[in-house]
C-alpha cells in the first residue's frame, strides 16, 4: 500500500510540471496583454510598464521565472487589483468554499436518499419519476436555470434577493449578518444542488442496484432477515463504497467556484474573479488560479485512487 501511494505521489510531479507548461504557454501565445489592453498609455510608458512586469522577455525565460516563483510559493502579482495573487485568492476563494461546501453536503445527502430509495423499487412509478428528473437536471443549461429561478423567486415573487452576498451597503453584524448571507445563498445553492444531484443520483442508484443483486444480499434474505436490515445493513454498505470514492473528485470543485452561477448571482467568489480578470487580461491571476485548480484536480484524483485502493484491495495490484 505504501509503495502504491508513493508511486502515485511521485507520478504527480511530472504531471504538474506538464500542466504548468500547458497553462503558461496558452497564455504566453495569446496576443495582447494587460498593457496592450489600456489605450490611455503613451508608447514610452507602455514599454516601461512591459519592462517592469517582465513582459519584454522571451516566453521561455518568463516560464522559468514563473516556475522559480512558484517554487517559492509566490503566484505572482495581480495587475488589475494591484495585490499579490495569493492574497486575492485568499479573499475570494473562501466565499466560493462556503457556497460549495453547503452545496456538497446537500446534494450528496439528497442523491444518496433518492438514489437508494429508487433502487429499492426499480421500475416503479417513483423510480421512473426520479429517472426523468435526473435527466432534466443533467440537461439544464446552468444559466437558464439561474435566470428562471431569479425571474420567479427574486423578481416576480420578490421572496429572495436577486444577487450578491449581502444587501448593498448593509453593515449587519452577528446573527443578522448570518441570516442575510443565508438568504442570499438560497438561490445559488438551489441551482447548484439541482444541477449536480442528477448524475450523482444515477451513480447511487446504479451502485445500489448492483449491490442488491449480490449473493450476500440473497443470503441475508434467505436467512429471513427483515427487509430493512437487508437493504440498509447488507446492501447499502456494499453499494456505498464505489460512490464514496468519488468524493475525492469533489476537491477542486470546493474551491474553483461555479463560474456561470457566481456570475449570474453576482456572488463574490473565485468564479466571478475568473471572469473579471479575464476581461482585463490579468494573466498572473488567471494562470495562478488555473494552476491552483490543476493542483487540486491532481490531488483529488490521488485521494480518489487511494480511497478506492483502500476499499478494494484488487485495485492495488495494477
Amino acid at each position: 500500500m505504501r509503495q502504491f501511494i508513493l508511486r502515485r505521489v511521485l507520478l504527480m510531479f511530472p504531471t504538474l510540471l506538464g500542466a504548468s507548461a500547458v497553462i503558461f504557454f496558452i497564455f504566453a501565445l495569446t496576443p495582447g496583454d494587460f498593457v496592450d489592453g489600456s489605450i490611455s498609455l503613451s508608447p514610452e510608458r507602455a514599454l516601461e510598464l512591459k519592462a517592469l512586469y517582465g513582459l519584454d522577455h522571451p516566453a521561455w525565460q518568463r516560464y522559468l521565472h514563473w516556475l522559480w516563483q512558484l517554487a517559492h510559493g509566490d503566484l505572482g502579482f495581480s495587475l488589475q487589483y494591484q495585490i499579490p495573487v495569493t492574497e486575492l485568492l485568499d479573499r475570494y476563494v473562501w466565499n466560493s468554499f462556503l457556497l460549495a461546501s453547503v452545496v456538497l453536503v446537500l446534494y450528496w445527502g439528497l442523491s444518496l436518499l433518492i438514489g437508494v430509495t429508487a433502487a429499492v423499487r426499480p421500475h416503479s412509478w417513483y423510480d421512473r419519476l426520479v429517472t426523468l428528473l435526473v435527466f432534466a437536471a443533467m440537461s439544464f443549461p446552468v444559466f437558464f436555470l439561474c435566470l428562471l429561478l431569479i425571474k420567479w423567486f427574486a423578481v416576480d415573487l420578490a421572496w429572495l434577493p436577486v444577487g450578491g452576498m449581502i444587501a448593498t451597503g448593509s453593515e449587519s453584524r452577528g446573527w443578522a449578518h448570518v441570516l442575510e448571507v443565508a438568504a442570499h445563498m438560497v438561490l445559488p445553492v438551489l441551482t447548484l444542488v439541482m444541477l449536480q444531484a442528477g448524475s450523482l443520483t444515477r451513480y447511487f442508484r446504479a451502485s445500489m442496484l448492483e449491490a442488491l443483486a449480490l449473493d450476500c444480499v440473497r443470503t441475508a434474505r434467505a436467512k429471513g432477515l427483515k427487509e430493512r436490515t437487508v437493504v440498509f445493513k447488507h446492501a447499502l454498505r456494499n453499494g456505498l463504497l464505489p460512490v464514496i470514492t468519488l468524493l475525492g473528485f469533489e476537491l477542486p470543485g470546493l474551491f474553483s467556484g461555479a463560474i456561470v452561477t457566481e456570475k449570474l448571482f453576482n456572488w463574490p467568489g473565485a468564479g466571478h474573479i475568473h471572469i473579471d480578470t479575464l476581461a482585463a487580461r490579468d494573466y498572473p491571476v488567471l494562470m495562478g488560479f488555473t494552476l491552483f485548480l490543476a493542483v487540486l484536480t491532481i490531488l483529488g484524483n490521488l485521494l480518489a485512487d487511494i480511497a478506492y485502493a483502500l476499499a478494494d484491495p484488487r485495485i492495488r495490484i495494477r
Binding site: P14, T15, G18, A19, V22, I23, I26, F27, T30, P31, G32, F135, A136, M138, S139, F140, P141, V142, F143, F144, L147, L148, I150, K151, V155, P252, S256, I259, V260, K263, H274, I275, L278, L286, F289, T290, L293, A294, T297, I298, N301
Partner: protein, 312 residues
C-alpha cells in the same frame, strides 16, 4: 430400400432448412440493439423530439415569411402575436426565425465538434491501445495532462483568445467547433483504448491469429468494429455536452458572436434587466430549445447504452 433412404434424406433436408430458417432469423448484435431500441418507448420519444428539432431547424427558416436580418423599427420588442409567433427583438427581427437559424448553428456545432473529437479520440485511443509501449504512454500521459486542467476555464480563455485575434464572426463557428473537440477527445480516447486492451485478450482475437489472418484484416474487420457500439454511446452523450458548452461560451459572449445567432448568444438579452423582467419571450425560447434538445440526446444515449449492453 431406395425410398427409405430418400425419405431420410428428404427429412434431413427439411430439418436443415428449418434450422437455416431460425438461424437466419437470429439477429446480429447490432440488429439486436436496433430491435431493442425500436421497442423502447423513451428512445422513440427522444428520437421524435430530436428529429422534429432537426427538421424544424433545417427546413423552418425557408418556410417562415421573415428574413433572418430583416428589421422592423415599428415592431421592435413586440410580444408574441399571430404575426410574429414568438415576438420580435429590439431590432424588430422575428424571434422564431432567429431561433430556427440559431438551432442550425448550435446543432451543427454540437455534431461537428463531436465528429472531430471522435476522429481525434478514436485514432489516439486505437493507436495507444494497439501499439502499447511508449506510444501508449505518451498519448495517455498527454490525455491525463489535458484532463487535469478544468475545461470550462480553459474554454473561456480560448474564447477570449479568439476575441483578441479578431476572428471574423463567420469563421468563429468553426473555431468554436475546433476548441470544443480539442478538449473532449481525451475521454473518448480513454474509452477506445480500454476497449481495445480488453478485446485483444479475447478468444476470438486469438482465433484470428491462429487462422493466420493479415494484420490489416485482424485490425479492421475484427478488432476495431467491436469498439464501435460503446463509441456511439459516448459520442451521443458528447453531442449533448458540446451543445451545452457552446451555449455557455456564447452566452458569455466568447463563443459564437452576433450577428450570427446561436441559442446561447440569443439568451444574452437576459443580461439587460428590463428585457429580463418584462420580455421573457426574448430569452425563454432559446433556453427551452437547448433544454429539449439536450434532454432528448441524453435519453437517447442512455437507451442506446441499454440496447447495446442489455446486461446493465
Amino acid at each position: 430400400m431406395r425410398s427409405y433412404f430418400n425419405g431420410r434424406r428428404r427429412r434431413r433436408q427439411a430439418e436443415l432448412e428449418a434450422l437455416a430458417g431460425t438461424l437466419g432469423r437470429t439477429r446480429s448484435p447490432l440488429g439486436d440493439a436496433v430491435w431493442r431500441l425500436r421497442h423502447s418507448r423513451p428512445a422513440l420519444l427522444a428520437l421524435a423530439v430530436l428529429g422534429l428539432m432537426v427538421l424544424a431547424c433545417v427546413f423552418g427558416p425557408w418556410l417562415t415569411p421573415w428574413q433572418l436580418d430583416s428589421t422592423d423599427a415599428l415592431l421592435s420588442n413586440s410580444a408574441p402575436s399571430a404575426r410574429h409567433w414568438l415576438g420580435t427583438d429590439f431590432l424588430g427581427r422575428d424571434i422564431l426565425t432567429r431561433l430556427l437559424v440559431a438551432g442550425r448553428i448550435s446543432l451543427s456545432v454540437g455534431f461537428v465538434s463531436v465528429l472531430l473529437s471522435v476522429l481525434l479520440g478514436y485514432t489516439a485511443g486505437a493507436l495507444a491501445g494497439y501499439l502499447g509501449g511508449i506510444v501508449d504512454a505518451l498519448i495517455m500521459r498527454f490525455a491525463d495532462l489535458l484532463m487535469t486542467i478544468p475545461s470550462l476555464p480553459l474554454l473561456i480563455i480560448m474564447g477570449a483568445v479568439l476575441s483578441e485575434l479578431k476572428v471574423d464572426p463567420d469563421y468563429r463557428i468553426y473555431m468554436v467547433m475546433l476548441m470544443l473537440s480539442l478538449l473532449s477527445w481525451t475521454s473518448l480516447a480513454r474509452i477506445v483504448r480500454g476497449q481495445i486492451l480488453s478485446l485483444r485478450e479475447r478468444d476470438f482475437m486469438l482465433a484470428t491469429e491462429v487462422l493466420g489472418l493479415s494484420t490489416r484484416r485482424r485490425l479492421f474487420r475484427h478488432l476495431l468494429p467491436n469498439t464501435v457500439p460503446l463509441l456511439i454511446v459516448a459520442a451521443t452523450m458528447g453531442v449533448a455536452g458540446a451543445i451545452l458548452n457552446e451555449s455557455y461560451l456564447s452566452y458569455l459572449g466568447l463563443g459564437v458572436v452576433p450577428p450570427t445567432p446561436s441559442w446561447g448568444n440569443m439568451m444574452d438579452t437576459a443580461n439587460s434587466f428590463v428585457d429580463f423582467q418584462r420580455r421573457p419571450w426574448l430569452w425563454m425560447p432559446p433556453g427551452l430549445a437547448i433544454f429539449c434538445t439536450v434532454i432528448a440526446i441524453n435519453v437517447l444515449g442512455d437507451c442506446l447504452r441499454d440496447a447495446i449492453d442489455p446486461k446493465r
